[in-house]
Symmetry: C2
Subunit: 259 residues, 2 copies
């Protein structure tokens, strides 16, 4: 039944750098803050769900909400693992008073994070503009040194930029929120206006929302091999852009900005 | 900042059939069964999240798990609203004993569904092959008459097919699971082998996983107007295939089947 992917022409760049199995990331974590973007999270998580059928991996979800234990210093920290919602806090973001939100229950918190994080995924969303992100930014800054990989999706790059970990690295972000997000740290990161995703050392960043799925597939290709990534894209019936430099959305936004 | 979508050439088919606001769907519900596919759900929900900024809508999530109230006949039915996980029940689906799952907390249950459902979305996933789907199938069958729209994603078409509501209608499903899913009701539905999505009367069906996002955008285009759908796709940086008859994945699978 499988498409004979191995018979296709391989892109050498994907195939020459596959690390030994012992060096592959196992423990993936995703940050969840209020008003995260749902697809920023689930696009990459869907890719990892398929990868998990071929490699032993874990995916955990870290809520940025202050835990009951850190506030009360007792042992009932699990009580703080309230599902994190995509609900916007700003009424101006919901002018029709809609109720079209989804929540994800976290497995960990900033105060009680996973013992090991090999790859940390930082999504975007309206919540990246909240005024109370200091603990989240500090967590990214302090955790970065022990990560194998950091990956940001959409305006999640704004969190990583403020943590200083994009300094000196190529990075991209949502094209419609470009000015607002890059202004958070205009110097330091080597902002790439036109890129579906970027890879610079162990840091990957993507454009807006759906671009995170292309980045995650690109990461799988680089890390586990191109055939693995293509098989997952086929399973997902996802039209993967396997070239990070492709970006029709930067172009579309440039056209709009020029009006 | 906004891209001048209204200046583009409109596709007449999307623009001529927009109903009056009073006829627009307001209440969307998504079925959640164990081992649903995460992106089958979140792709369309992401589209609805963006739509919700321009139209007043609600999105609810209906767990198919038997509720405590239906079992115990008491009033604590909310205790049954356990988050529904993508975790597969078959160990054979998880040979590396990975833990790469995500859960969604439901808002309703089959026993206590929303008072009004205008559009019901049925996702796919490994859970559509579970042996205990009779209550779910019955719910779709009994609810269908009061729906404005039914939309299925991926192997969710197998649930709708068994409910009999695809009979006499064009429908499609996941291309890699094609034989298995269409065999659930080979006669009745007018199965379309090559289609990103189908629309037949008030029933929409899509191909696998990511195709649900294209279908949902197609539904928004038909129902709210093409400019609305294109603006959402641009916000999502999603390469929307706005022609439901496009389907590279049927072709890829046909190639594989011919091996």
């Amino acid at each position: 039944m499988a498409v004979p992917l191995e018979r296709r022409n391989e892109k050498a760049s994907f195939e020459q750098t596959i690390p030994a199995t012992s060096e592959l990331p196992v423990h993936y974590s995703v940050l969840l803050f209020p008003a995260f973007d749902a697809l920023d999270v689930i696009g990459p998580v869907e890719v990892l769900g398929h990868l998990a059928r071929s490699y032993q991996i874990t995916v955990s979800f870290i809520t940025t909400a202050a835990s009951a234990s850190s506030l009360l210093n007792n042992s009932t920290h699990n009580a703080s693992l309230t599902p994190v919602s995509t609900r916007t806090r700003a009424a101006s973001m919901n002018p029709f008073n809609s109720s079209a939100f989804v929540s994800i229950p976290p497995t960990h918190s900033l105060a009680d994070p996973p013992a090991q994080i090999d790859a940390l995924i930082v999504p975007g969303g309206a919540g990246t503009r909240a005024p109370d992100l200091a603990p989240t930014i500090s967590f990214v800054a302090s955790t970065f040194a022990r990560l194998q990989y950091l990956l940001t999706v959409c305006t999640g790059a704004g969190i990583a930029a403020r943590a200083g970990v994009l300094d000196g690295r190529r990075a991209t972000t949502n094209k419609r929120s470009w000015n607002e997000t890059t202004a958070l740290r205009p110097q330091g990161p080597l902002w790439q206006r036109s890129a579906r995703w970027t890879e610079d050392g162990n840091v990957w960043t993507s454009g807006g929302v759906a671009a995170g799925t292309d980045m995650m597939l690109g990461f799988v290709a680089k890390t586990y091999g191109g055939a693995v990534a293509r098989s997952i894209a086929l399973d997902m019936e996802y039209e993967w852009r396997d070239d990070g430099s492709w970006d029709a959305f930067a172009y579309a936004q440039d056209m709009a900005d020029a009006e």
